[in-house]
């Protein structure tokens, strides 16, 4: 999101607060979310894909709702109206291709209406087939989950994304030689995927409540949270939509303050620190050890301010629109151990993986035939969970190692906590609560996290490893 996006969203939502009734506010949030998917999608080199990527996001959301909806509830008039609007919007946008250059909502000229009608018809037929195969909806939810994960893998593995780009370039009549992974810049798919997987998984386990299409689509594509989260839960979001009342002046002010704070963090602090933050060019050029540490600390702060700033903007816009989004950060660099760090850093992502990976996995291991001690179960659970969190950021060895770094850190902390607990009666409580102990723990935790960012920030394992060695006075 740019400053212009943030400003326009803030003004739009402020106008809503002042004018719209609760019912229309829900509809307005739905429409703004739908339209924003197209507006926020940046231009990509693949011809017309700044139209097709948002359309695909909407298409996947529609299919996910059709698959997981409570059929006994039937289709309400609201559902039908929202579905009709969702279907008409791409057609309407495709007509904008006849407007002068620069007047389109999408980053590039949309495709012809015939093409949109053909693709739309295929989707409608698929929808009817899906309805016809309603009794296999559980299987379809599994298939849809596989599709979502498959798309995610294609977008995150460079070789696959280049191959896919080459394929799509063939379809659009562009040069295959120019295919690049950046061609597949699909706005917000990482977050859309997690929201859809959460819904599909809850549906499979019978925990998914009935959600209207309007609330469902707004949940998946909610405009403040589409680019960088946070990741809410559908039942909570739907309840907020249903019960949303216009914010009071006090709530509005709190939200506005969050937006201003977020903009300052993102566009002043994070963008300022970005100049000196760790990257492959800086690290290759920097000759002295102390300055290398400065780059790493700058990256640590930059990443926090960038991400936390976006979250503040998202939560702030949510607040002024009457929707309280979950928090993502809680002063993570002031935590005294790696466990509490992960309870305060990208909290909604960590919660997602805790709910859908760590807990089911450790539960399965505990109940499994193979008898394992609890330490081993925790180790396996943390290794798998943190590796997957790493892979969610990108399918590279660096992200795997970053995940493992934290998994090992979490496990060591877990064992250390067990060790101290067992000796709690022999160690004076002042030892735990002393300011010195807190300070040492805080410094150790922050530095552990900061060193972990070396894997995260640099493009290759070798470069990261050499940087870590250099930071401790090793090789040049």
């Amino acid at each position: 999101m740019t400053l212009i996006h943030i400003l326009i969203f803030t003004l739009l939502v402020s106008a809503l607060v002042l004018t719209a009734s609760q019912r229309w506010r829900r509809w307005s949030l739905f429409i703004i979310s739908l339209v924003s998917v197209y507006w926020l999608q940046p231009a990509v080199s693949l011809r017309q894909f700044s139209f097709w990527f948002p359309t695909a996001s909407i298409g996947l959301t529609v299919i996910a709702w059709l698959v997981t909806r409570h059929r006994e509830r039937g289709l309400s008039r609201e559902d039908l109206t929202a579905l009709l609007f969702t279907a008409l919007l791409p057609l309407l946008l495709s007509l904008s291709r006849f407007l002068p250059e620069g007047w389109q909502l999408t980053a590039s000229r949309p495709p012809s209406i015939y093409l949109v009608v053909i693709v739309g018809s295929i989707l409608v037929i698929l929808g009817f087939v899906g309805e016809w195969l309603a009794k296999w909806s559980r299987l379809m939810s599994v298939l849809l989950g596989v599709v979502v994960i498959g798309v995610f893998i294609v977008l995150k593995i460079e070789t696959l994304s280049v191959w896919t780009s080459s394929l799509l370039r063939g379809v659009t009549g562009q040069s295959r030689n120019l295919a690049a992974s950046t061609d597949l810049y699909w706005l917000g798919f990482s977050y859309i995927a997690l929201r859809l997987l959460h819904v599909l998984r809850d549906y499979q386990s019978g925990r998914l409540p009935a959600v209207s299409f309007l609330d469902f689509l707004t949940f998946v594509l909610f405009f403040p949270a589409i680019t960088a989260g946070p990741i809410d839960r559908v039942e909570k979001f739907s309840s907020k939509m249903q019960n949303a009342v216009a914010p009071t002046a006090s709530e509005y002010l709190t939200g506005a303050r969050r937006i201003v704070l977020g903009v300052f963090q993102k566009f002043v602090l994070a963008d300022g620190l970005a100049i000196i933050a760790l990257n492959s060019t800086n690290v290759a050029m920097t000759r002295s050890v102390p300055w290398l540490w400065v780059l790493v600390f700058a990256f640590s702060l930059r990443l926090y301010f960038d991400f936390s700033g976006y979250t503040d903007v998202a939560v702030g816009i949510g607040q002024i629109s009457g929707i309280q989004l979950p928090e993502n950060f809680d002063r993570p660099y002031f935590k005294t151990n790696i466990g509490t760090f992960w309870n305060s850093w990208h909290m909604t992502l960590a919660n997602w993986f805790r709910a859908y990976v760590f807990n089911p996995l450790t539960r399965a291991l505990r109940k499994g035939r193979l008898k394992m001690n609890s330490a081993l179960i925790i180790l396996i659970g943390q290794l798998v969970t943190m590796t997957l969190i790493g892979l969610w950021h990108g399918v590279t060895w660096n992200f795997v190692l970053w995940g493992l770094w934290h998994a090992v850190g979490l496990f060591i902390h877990n064992r250390w906590a067990v060790f101290l607990n067992a000796r709690r009666d022999r160690i004076p409580s002042a030892f735990y609560t002393s300011k010195a102990m807190r300070a040492v723990s805080l410094v150790l935790t922050f530095n552990f996290v900061a060193l972990g960012w070396v894997w995260f920030a640099l493009p290759s394992v070798q470069m990261s490893w050499e940087t870590l060695i250099r930071m401790f006075g090793g090789i040049r």
């Binding site: 009071t248 006090s250 002010l253 620190l273 000196i276 800086n282 050029m285 300055w291 290398l292």
Partner: protein, 385 residues
Amino acid sequence: MTETQRVEKGVMNISWGFIWRVLLKAFVLFAAINIVYALFNPLPVLGRLSFYNVLFPGRLRLPYGDDPDRSFNITLSHLDAMFAAHEIQSTEKSEEEFRILVIGDSSVWGFLLEPTQTLSAQINQSEIITEDGRTVRAYNLGYPTMSVTKDLLILERGLLNHPDLIIWLVTLESLPKVSQLDSPFLQLNPDRTRELITRYALDLDPEDERFENSTFWNRTIIGQRRELAQLFKLQMLGVLWSGSGVDHEIPETYNERLEDLPADLDFHNFMPGDLNTNELAFDMLEAGVQAAGDIPVVFINEPVFISEGENSDIRYNFYYPRWAYDFYRQELQSQAAGRGWDYADLWDAMPSTEFTDSAIHYTPLGSRILAQDIIGVIKEFLQEP
């Protein structure tokens, strides 16, 4: 407890009227701050505030760079900020120092050279001691645009740093009067440039339409947001400069200077016989001598690439047809003699193999060769009574 404190503690119910008043006050305050800022115009003072020479070592050459992410450098127009980032501002000149300012274009700045390979750096590496025991210390004040008016502007500012000698490298491409104000650096410094034009009665248009004239709007914070961002960025880049010593991206490969040349006699739309003394900005050089006052100025005609390729009988290189360059050399020689300037003609002092991407950019070895020649000139100068 104030109203704001009560709001922050959540003990006060806020009304929409309160928010409107806050917005109104914020707007009025913002407008007022901008107006006050524009009235006081603190940018010149802000430019002089610098972490360089305090937290970070001063740069060895003036800030210039198109891609800050790779060159760890930035192009800006604020002359005082540029000097504040330069090592010349690090300390007051000591009595043991013989200070030389080296002025000129990108060849002096050291395009495609590391900061320790430029002419000034090479001169310093020679550790010359004057007869009275002072150590010669050369400062690189070159800047990569071709205009002697730009050089004059930098020279004038450099005089505040108490030089003992000024070495000014010139070439024909910096001299045509028609192109003197082409440099964006001059266009973005209209007041200083006008001052020069007036003070030295230079034959340039003080109302050139390309000057970015100061208006009330562009003196506000909003109007100066780019300049302010540049100053901030320059300071942040000090971290990378300190850690790396890099201030210029030198690509592994580049397009080499043209060996085969077009059969073109044109020089800035002048054809043989058209170019005369009045078309060249020798008055800028004279203004530099005047500005320097008692401080001696040595002019050096910098080396240029001499092609032996196709059409080299017509042109020396991409920049110069032979007729124009020969005329210029002759004129510079006679102007120097007539006006009593110290002058050295080093136009062919470098082998053609030591030029890089243009007819005036050198390899590290080329820079060393030229530096040795300049050291010879300096020594000769120092021995003069």
